[in-house]
Symmetry: C2
Subunit: 236 residues, 2 copies
């Protein structure tokens, strides 16, 4: 009889590793030791050790010196954590008045402590939302997640197009606060005025809530992390 049994049956660390590996795979990158280490803020040898344990548990496959891949059961567990995280973020924002820049850390801790029952009750109270406050799709209980294949990064939205902000990473609170300060939230509509070359900034014209327009300049790195839906061809 060991400690640390929650409803998932995995340790806190195990849950963190699975989620981090899932997110790396989802970004297309192969899940390398160093990438996992960086995501979890641990030293690479810690990852080697944990990867060994996880592959012995059948949660992932390990090609030594090459990388790691989730097995179906590992992916299922990871998606469960993603669902928990996003339901929690949505609940905290909708029901308890959290801002979108402050929910991540809270959800990060709670996702290891909640029961399946609590998550389902929160989901029900929210009307089974499909997206979290940052626009990320919420996997269903059965581990199905909507594709977002029509989204492009702001850097790739053609000049002159109208576009809608659809998704921002929840990782960096400062970034989220800054984005909000530009008048941008998920669903905000704007026109792309121009891209500077050589990874320079993008200028956009945001349609504010009061129908006023406001120009904003967004650095390349930030623009690259904003996922948008291009609305139509050219403007007027």
């Amino acid at each position: 009889m060991s400690a640390n049994r929650k409803s998932s049956g995995f340790s806190r660390s195990t849950e963190d590793y699975l989620k981090a590996i899932y997110e790396l795979e989802a970004e297309g990158r192969p899940a390398q030791t160093s990438a996992i280490a960086e995501a979890l803020a641990v030293a690479p040898p810690s990852v080697s050790g944990m990867v060994k344990r996880l592959s012995e548990s059948g949660l992932l496959q390990h090609a030594p010196y090459r990388g790691v891949q989730l097995t179906p059961s590992g992916k299922r567990a990871a998606l469960k954590m993603v669902r928990r995280h996003r339901i929690l973020e949505t609940y905290l924002t909708t029901k308890l008045g959290y801002d979108w820049d402050s929910v991540h850390d809270e959800a990060e801790r709670l996702e290891h402590a909640v029961s399946d029952q609590l998550i389902e009750r929160m989901a029900m109270a929210l009307g089974y939302p499909r997206f979290d406050p940052h626009g990320a799709p919420i996997p269903t209980k059965d581990g199905l997640m909507e594709e977002q294949d029509d989204l492009v990064s702001l850097t790739d939205v053609p000049v002159g197009s109208m576009a809608e902000l659809r998704m921002v990473s929840d990782r960096d609170p400062d970034l989220l606060r800054f984005v909000a300060s530009l008048g941008l939230r998920v669903g905000a509509v704007f026109e792309v005025v121009g891209h500077q070359p050589f990874k320079g900034p993008t200028t956009i014209r945001v349609v504010g809530a009061d129908a006023r327009e406001k120009d904003a300049v967004v650095g390349y790195e930030l623009a690259a992390s904003l996922s948008c839906l291009v609305l139509e061809g050219e403007v007027g």
Copy 2:
């Protein structure tokens, strides 16, 4: 930089020990090693080890072979956990439809993961409740807790008196379900029909929601764990 920093700054185990010791002290019993061990379902030597660490951290005083006492800072930390637990129980019951018999375990896990901010937001959403669903008083943010000195155990309510159920331990879900099945909840009013001697059962007549009356027989152990307010002298 070690792991496991939450807003409280203590490890999960530390929080559990402090709360358990607090609850033993609150019941008047001296907090002995074996009592702590039983409360936490660990072996006595584990307690000796942890007590050593906790007293080195200044959270409690240890008189070897005698027992343990919380220091002011230990008591503060313990009351914080009690507040968290009771706010969580109240929130889950009031806002998410949990029954009073199923909230304890969920709160037990969540209390280690929530931030101070989340607890305060929940408390606000609930209108700063003074009691949890089992009738236990909720300490304030500053660690003040209402006295409940007018309550007596059901075994001590005089025959013929009317009384009101005010508090039940949240520990045992089966007990709580059974109590509910008798028509008893916090605030329920009943008449004590009789006590059998030699630790025999107590018979009560519960005033139901539909104003019908229902007799119920309650074993001694259970009766001892029901805290009641005696309403007036004799009936009729």
